[in-house]
């Protein structure tokens, strides 16, 4: 019954080029132990973890080594034996439950399917087992939640339901692939705790893939650090986080702890000498620092049928009041669904507001995108989260930048060429990038182009919607540096929509905390985050994982009192 999962000298190569994705990976997962695989995207951690289920994504091939579970040589399994192994002996929990659940089938069917295809017990026994799992995972309405479809439950619930799906056939080992990455920090705490209880309660082994050391420190016994497909460090959690040997591990540690991150941030908090001589054009329109450039007054946004007063049936934003100071970087934080992205969309006109005002330099902007002038459109620019999706894959960088310049400024000919070169220079990319297509650039370069595209409109205010959340630590820091220098050099004002508290702490001057469509707290970043006044902000701050063993249990203890306060407040 008690089997070791062993990876021995595992090497996986690309089919086309033969280049190695992971090299010489060896580690052991003892029964009931949790081994974390940590590293950045592209480090091969998911590729390694999937071999435990005898699965290699198309385009890849195992060229060396073995993966065994007890006496079973997993990589040698095929056909019926492989299907029999998957799900029953080792199960899988995917990163995004929203994508991993079939939208056309009920949740209950999918959860019980693992047990039913492996013909375990009678239908009634399986159902009873599933209900028990729902309760264990603290899912509400255990009797009826299975009749719902994936889109009818929340993200946190769906992630737990996927754990139930993995557990339904009673496996000895589970591969967790970034299971909490897609969740809000406040939800992550609870889900992490239920996963931990589940693993310990059933004594199952686990491979826990993550990029977040602080999360891993709460749940794992051992940590394996991967960089570019190779193991650079392997040890117990205490060894790795307290006495890291490899410089890459030290880098990860510095980036994962909000306390350390804000302490080690090298960024000056006050702007240095303003470089007026550098760009006189900008200096003219630069107001004195500290005056609000963007004022939001009693802003209300909603959707659905409108009543006689013109109020929609579903209200997303309620009476938002914000002052964004010129040359500041202003954060808007909150969990998903709190309305922070809707706020950004309302400011730039993508979503209509039905009440209130958005004032840019004192002039009111129309709620309707079509009624705004081109100059107004240019002055408020948006940077989307996913550069991959925001940049047209069929257009060269030159074309991507040329169109907004021509549309908003009306310039033509060589003036536009000069502007494109200037924009690339501002985002610190070489000029020859202009000839390339988005897919020929790295993730960080694409995000720079995404920023350059916003700058093409010669904005006063740049709205950044989670621009760093899809990026790895090192790249993320480079983008943060860029935003900082753009503010310094060009006098731009940034509104950063983010759920990443450590980015906000390192970069932003002011912060507004949103909860259920309201701004519950705002003020200077330092004071707001260090001494939060509102109960929700406290809950949010306590939910940010700390790189310390035992933090999770502490956070859960605080949880109860916080929830009480949030409900009252």
């Amino acid at each position: 019954m008690k089997n070791h999962l062993s990876f021995k000298n595992l090497t996986i190569c690309r089919d086309d080029t033969g280049a190695a994705i992971v090299k010489d990976i060896s580690f052991d997962v003892a029964p009931g132990k949790v081994v974390a695989l940590i590293g950045e995207s592209g480090s091969g951690k998911t590729t390694v973890s999937l071999t435990a289920l005898g699965y290699v994504r198309s385009g890849l091939r195992v060229t060396g080594g073995t993966v065994t579970f007890g006496d079973t040589d997993i990589l040698a399994l095929s056909g019926h034996a492989l299907r029999d192994f998957r799900g029953r002996r080792i199960a899988y929990v995917a990163q995004s439950a929203a994508a991993a659940f079939n939208p056309g089938l009920t949740i209950g069917f999918q959860v019980a399917e693992t047990a039913s295809i492996h013909a375990l017990g009678t239908a009634a026994e399986r159902q009873a087992h599933v209900f028990k799992l729902y309760e264990e995972l603290q899912l509400p309405a255990a009797a009826t939640i299975g009749d719902r479809y994936p889109h009818e439950v929340s993200g946190g619930q769906l992630q737990r339901l996927m754990a139930a799906m993995a557990m339904s056939a009673g496996p000895e080992c589970i591969v967790f692939d970034e299971p909490t990455t897609a969740l809000d920090v406040t939800t992550q705490v609870d889900v992490l705790k239920t996963f931990k209880d589940l693993i310990q309660g059933h004594g199952i082994g686990a491979v826990y893939v993550s990029h977040d050391l602080a999360v891993v420190a709460q749940i794992a016994d051992e940590i394996v650090v991967l960089q570019a497909g190779e193991i650079v460090e392997h040890g117990t959690v205490e060894q790795v986080i307290n006495k890291p040997q490899h410089h890459y591990t030290k880098l990860l540690i510095a980036a994962s702890d909000p306390e350390i991150a804000s302490k080690t941030a090298k960024l000056p908090k006050r702007p240095a000498t303003v470089l007026i001589s550098d760009s006189s054009k900008h200096a003219e329109m630069m107001p004195t620092e500290g005056d609000p450039v963007l004022r939001i007054r009693d802003l209300c946004v909603g959707y659905g049928a409108t009543n006689r007063q013109g109020e929609p049936s579903v209200k997303v934003l309620k009476d938002i009041n914000l002052d964004i100071k010129a040359r500041s970087i202003h954060a808007v934080i909150g969990e998903s669904g709190s309305g922070k992205s809707t706020l950004a969309r309302a400011i730039c006109g993508l979503t209509r507001f039905y009440q209130g005002q958005v004032l840019l330099d004192g002039a009111s902007l129309s709620p309707d995108l079509k009624s705004r002038t081109r100059a107004e459109l240019g002055r408020v620019q948006m940077v989307m989260q996913m550069a991959d999706v925001a940049l047209n894959p069929a257009h060269t960088i030159d074309k991507i930048l040329r169109r907004p310049i021509q549309y908003i400024t009306g310039e033509t000919g060589s003036a536009v060429d000069d502007r494109i070169a200037d924009l690339l220079h501002k985002v610190k990319l070489p000029a020859d990038v202009a000839r390339r297509l988005p897919r020929e650039l790295s993730g960080g370069q694409k995000q720079r182009i995404n920023l350059a595209r916003a700058l093409a409109g010669q904005p006063r205010v740049v709205l950044c919607d989670e621009v760093t959340s899809a990026l790895d630590t090192v790249v993320r820091n480079a983008i943060i540096d860029l935003i900082w220098s753009l503010r310094e050099d060009l006098g731009l004002t940034f509104v950063m929509i983010s759920h990443d508290i450590s980015t906000v702490a390192a970069l932003c001057d002011e912060v507004a905390v949103m909860h259920r469509g309201h701004v519950v707290e705002q003020g200077g970043t330092e004071s707001t985050l260090r001494a939060p006044r509102h109960a929700y902000t406290r809950k949010l701050m306590r939910s940010v994982p700390h790189l310390r063993v035992g933090w999770l249990e502490q956070a859960i203890d605080h949880r109860h009192t916080d929830t009480q306060l949030v409900l009252e407040g």
């Binding site: 999937l50 289920l53 699965y55 492989l82 299907r83 029999d84 192994f85 998957r86 799900g87 029953r88 199960a91 899988y92 995917a94 995004s96 994508a99 991993a100 659940f101 079939n102 939208p103 056309g104 089938l105 399917e113 693992t114 295809i117 492996h118 479809y149 889109h151 009818e152 799906m165």
Partner: protein
């Protein structure tokens, strides 16, 4: 609840739009037949006509009245359920159409009963084993069939099976079927000719849709649960493919009713499309009008059915939510 309301609005909206489309089409058809040179009187009387007899017949059929009056009369009759008389033969249009419609439905129904399941099956097999010999055969074969024009396909079939081999009659003109064998031998060539192009289209669409779904994360998840390949196809992929597949099937079924002019003409099959072609030749406006509206209505209804199926197959639409 939300789903039911959605259906009611959808069906009401479509019915309204459908009625408007029908009315618009009737004006277009009327205008087109007014613009065409010659009229029914010339067509009926043919070569031997004298200007006097033509004028007399025009008077008798009411063709000398203003156009809007002719159209108004027809529209009033149509709305009150009277399709009028054929100008050329004087026969009742309702009766004319009913005979032909049942023939067309027979041909279309038999073709659909064979082509739709066959197309879905080979599309699914091709998607299940992408890159296999079977998949390549389906892909290339369907591409060839789609590109061959129907009249060529029909002509080739007649050349081989009717003339060279003599297995089946070259002409499918018949009023009554004496036995199943007779029915089969008369219908087999038109059915083959029609099936060729619609099977190819539906198979290609099925393959593309299912292949696209098989690339999803939830399919990878099912694979990692140990679900077998066939169960993945039928339980996990197919329910999500119903919407797009229903759409292409509906389009092809509508085509079976209205777009079979060439096949019916080549085989001299007495169907609705053949009736339409003959009516156009004799400038028989009431018949043309009625045929055109039946085709238009069949498109509208079939597309509505496809949309309803797509909604039923998608829980997000069926049960509301956003």
């Amino acid at each position: 609840m939300k789903g039911q309301a959605l259906f009611a609005t959808l069906i009401l909206k479509r019915a309204g739009a459908g009625i408007f489309t029908l009315w618009f089409v009737s004006i277009l058809v009327f205008a087109a037949s007014a613009i065409l040179p010659g009229d029914v009187a010339e067509a009926v009387l043919g070569q031997s006509a004298t200007p006097e007899t033509i004028a007399a017949l025009r008077e008798k059929l009411g063709l000398t009245r203003p156009l809007w009056e002719q159209y108004g009369d027809w529209l009033f009759g149509f709305v009150s359920g009277d399709l009028g008389q054929s100008l050329a033969s004087g026969a009742d249009v309702t009766q004319l159409i009913m005979d032909r419609l049942s023939n067309t439905l027979l041909l279309g129904g038999l073709t659909a009963a064979i082509a739709v399941p066959f197309a879905l099956l080979i599309g699914l097999v091709a998607a299940t084993f992408p890159g296999s010999a079977g998949d390549r055969a389906v892909t290339i074969g369907s591409l060839v069939l789609v590109s061959v024009p129907e009249y060529l396909m029909a002509t080739i079939l007649v050349m081989i099976f009717a003339i060279k081999l003599g297995w089946f009659p070259a002409v499918s003109y018949t009023t009554e079927f004496t036995s199943f064998g007779h029915l089969f031998s008369v219908m087999v060539l038109p059915i083959l000719a029609l099936s060729a192009s619609i099977t190819a289209q539906m198979a290609r669409m099925t393959r593309a849709t299912v292949l696209n779904i098989l690339g999803s994360t939830f399919i990878e998840m099912a694979l990692l649960k140990g679900v077998s390949r066939w169960r993945i196809i039928f339980t996990h992929a197919l329910p999500n493919a119903i919407g797009p597949i229903a759409n292409v099937v509906a389009l092809n079924l509508a085509y079976l009713l209205s777009g079979v002019v060439i096949v019916e003409t080549i085989f001299a099959y007495p169907g609705l499309a053949k009736l339409l072609v003959d009516a156009v030749a004799s400038r028989d406006f009431p018949v043309v009008q009625s045929c055109a509206l039946i085709f238009c209505a069949s498109y509208t209804v079939l597309m509505l059915v496809a949309d309803v199926l797509a909604i039923l197959a998608n829980p997000r639409l069926r049960r509301g939510g956003h």
